[in-house]
């Protein structure tokens, strides 16, 4: 029990509760010595850790770290992106002795992680979002994954499986990361079915279950038969689509358990692979690069296993492209690419590879996407 292990480090507490908690204290002595050598690692989530989405993906990474030797893991969920997260980080450092922290929400970084990294130079902060620049403290880092690669694969599968040729995308906000996912999904789908279109609906915020359900229904009413999304908790979209008889591709983490008969595949984070890797690097005394990014090849993102209904043709096509992406010699955003207003956004002959900073500023929807960024 990890919680108990953390408990018995505090001597004062034992004094106070000697009478009341005599029973539990009996088992304490043995555990305490083991705990002394542990590295304490704190994970902080912005939502609930069982949201079948963004936060659950991170919690799965934390669960993988828990299985390692010599570590004890702390978790705190629903921590808002205010000074509350600073206090959570400080509390983990001061009261629990944490030396490595994973504040996993994008909005935690500036100013909160930066402030705490300056205040606690001995602790190490690994933030999810890829925001570190060389002006930032050295004990802070920010990692992120090119999940559009996995969205591209989802798109290929969706393009093969759709009967109506109409795909649907429920998205939170028209920011570069989200647009890139929509575009990659659409480009993938049009690889399989050049006539496929993606109707996008923006809900306006990261967690709006009611609007997400309405968007799902309205897309299906318009004839969409495969849906995917980029919101914090895809559960609403996945369950609603399945209930209405449409197919879905997941996002953030595997959701096939929610809709086994409708779930084609999905774009997942692979924090289970990355977090233990980071912990091992620290245990071995190595430095984690402050700016750490990668895609399928680097095992930072992955695709959900195909659902039973996915055709052999779709599987083969998707597997081929996946193999090329894993080999590192495939470009998703290869010109010529036009936006959905007819303007060329990537010229013929220009290949914008994954690390191209131009992609970080994406503000367009590619041809084949029905919808507008504003």
């Amino acid at each position: 029990m990890n919680f108990r292990r953390a408990d018995f480090r505090s001597i004062t507490r034992r004094h106070l509760l000697q009478g009341g908690a005599a029973l539990t204290l009996g088992s304490a002595l043995g555990v305490r010595t083991a705990a002394a050598a542990d590295m304490t690692i704190g994970f902080i989530y912005v939502g609930s850790r069982d949201d079948y989405g963004y936060n659950q993906a991170h919690a799965q990474g934390a669960a993988a770290v828990k299985k390692m030797a010599g570590v004890s893991v702390l978790e705190e969920e629903k921590v808002p992106e205010t000074d509350a997260v600073e206090k959570t980080m400080e509390s983990m450092i001061n009261l629990d002795g944490a030396s490595l922290l994973f504040p996993t929400s994008f909005g935690y970084y500036n100013p909160h992680v930066l402030k705490m990294a300056a205040k606690y130079p001995k602790a190490h902060f690994e933030h999810c979002g890829g925001l570190w620049t060389d002006k930032d403290p050295q004990n802070a880092g920010s990692y992120f994954g090119y999940i559009d690669e996995a969205q591209y694969i989802s798109g290929i599968v969706a393009g093969h499986m759709t009967k109506s040729g109409k795909l649907g995308f429920v998205a939170a906000k028209p920011i570069p990361q989200v647009l890139r996912n929509i575009n990659a999904f659409t480009l993938g789908a049009r690889l399989a079915n050049p006539k496929a279109t993606t109707q996008v609906i923006f809900t306006g915020d990261w967690s709006m279950p009611v609007k997400e359900a309405e968007a799902t229904n309205s897309l299906i009413d318009q004839g969409v038969d495969v849906l995917t999304c980029h919101v914090d908790g895809p559960k609403t979209v996945v369950e609603n689509a399945a209930r209405r008889g449409a197919m879905v591709c997941g996002y953030h983490c595997g959701q096939s358990a929610l809709a086994p008969k409708a779930y084609l595949t999905g774009a997942e984070w692979n924090w289970e692979a990355l977090y233990p890797k980071f912990v091992k690097m620290i245990q071995a005394g190595e430095k984690i690069p402050n700016f750490y990014r990668g895609g399928l090849k680097e095992e930072i993102v992955k695709c959900s296993p195909y659902g039973e209904m996915v055709s052999a043709e779709a599987r083969k096509h998707a597997d081929d492209v996946k193999a090329k992406l894993m080999g590192g010699d495939y470009t998703i955003f290869a010109g010529p690419i036009a936006d959905n207003k007819g303007k060329t956004v990537i010229a013929s002959g220009t290949n914008q590879g994954q690390k191209d900073p131009e992609l970080e500023k994406m503000d367009y929807l590619v041809e084949g996407v029905l919808g507008a960024t504003s």
Partner: protein, 369 residues
């Protein structure tokens, strides 16, 4: 809400022969401390039972709550930091309550105040930092004040229920915030987290020296004390309470109820707007969606638990700040879900509201008779 002069005189007059009893004199005041205190303890006991049913040791629970909220200097600062915005947003509900109005839109005033303060700072790029900070305070208070005045005006001149209108105005404020932050006020460099440009490190108001609690706490305490004086020690406050007690009587004696409503609503919104200014100037450094953290809604809870008394808001906000500060420790050490803290807040709320029935009914506390 206290005994005040009349009763004291009464007690003195009666007391010479009878045992002068502290309780006799201050019974009603003691009630105001004893009853909510007992309600709090009862709520904690019920929560302990709840936690016990989940297989956790309630003694551990109480110990961790104490440690996380007030057990160390760090924990104290954690609780006080969380209490700071709550004092200000609670005033947004407590002040109109003196007039019998139920305003629950503090969150909206906070957001508008934060936007106005950010706008003021960005409009004065090269002014000295004290000027910028002063402008931010004024803009924040003005923005928030006008926002709640909208609700007050709708009630006074159009007969719209102020509870509903202030709540709906929260969503409008949120939409305005999102629109400005993602559109006209957006810093083009804030790609994946739409935000306004930063107000600049020099313009940040920082922490109270020797602590890492920001100045919002002091603003809150000053605002709460000033509100108490205004309501209980001035003719304006007396007029407000008269209007709150019986609006027709107030009109008959010639009080300008419309002006009272507008002024009180302005002050209420101004204090929530100040909370928004503090969030920008002491915490975030810019305006973005992070500002909508629900302080305005928790403030409603604080105001009701404090029975709308501006002074009582201070300790209540600190207790709620402490509960939320200890929530993290409960999650980490006991493996309780985050929702357990909300369960506790809910239980406390129910107990404190139910305890209203006890006032004036506890025999040994009956001061007057």
């Amino acid at each position: 809400m206290t005994t005040d002069a009349a009763e004291t005189v009464d007690a003195v007059a009666v007391s010479p022969a009878a045992d002068p009893g502290f309780l006799q004199r201050y019974g009603t005041s003691v009630e105001y401390i004893l009853i909510p205190g007992a309600a709090l303890i009862a709520a904690l006991a019920v929560f302990g039972l709840f936690v016990f049913l989940f297989g956790k040791n309630p003694l551990n629970l109480y110990y961790y709550m104490y440690q996380g909220a007030f057990g160390t200097w760090f924990s104290w600062q954690n609780s006080l930091t969380r209490a700071a915005p709550l004092i200000l947003t609670a005033l947004c509900t407590a002040l109109p309550a003196q007039l019998g109005m139920v305003i629950i839109g503090g969150e909206g005033a906070l957001l508008i105040g934060a936007l106005a303060a950010t706008g003021a700072a960005l409009a004065l790029p090269s002014a000295p930092h004290l000027v910028v900070q002063f402008a931010m305070v004024c803009a924040g208070m003005l923005g928030g004040g006008l926002w709640i005045m909208l609700s007050g005006g709708l009630r006074q001149y159009r007969g719209v229920n102020e509870t509903i209108s202030s709540l709906l105005l929260v969503y409008i404020a949120l939409a305005i915030l999102n629109h400005l932050v993602e559109g006209p006020m957006r810093d083009p460099a804030s790609l994946n987290k739409p935000s306004t440009p930063e107000i600049g490190a020099a313009n940040m108001i920082g922490s109270i020296p020797g602590t890492d609690v920001h100045w919002g706490l002091l603003f809150g305490v000053i605002a709460a004390v000033a509100s108490y004086i205004l309501i209980y020690r001035t003719t304006f406050g007396f007029a407000a309470r008269v209007a709150g007690g019986n609006i027709r009587a107030a009109r008959i004696v010639g009080l300008n109820v419309g002006r009272l409503i507008m002024t009180i609503c302005f002050l209420a919104g101004a204090s929530a707007g100040l909370a928004g200014m503090v969030e920008v100037a002491a915490v975030e450094g810019r305006a973005n969606a992070n500002l909508a953290a629900g302080y305005g809604f928790t403030g409603i809870l604080v105001a009701f638990l404090a029975r709308q008394n501006p002074l009582a808001i201070i300790p209540v906000a600190i207790v709620l700040g402490g509960i939320s500060a200890s929530g993290g420790l409960l999650q980490r050490r006991l493996g309780l879900p985050d929702a357990s803290v909300q369960v506790l807040q809910g239980i406390i709320f129910v107990f404190v509201l139910a305890s209203d029935a006890l006032y004036g009914r506890i025999g040994f506390l009956k001061g007057k008779t």
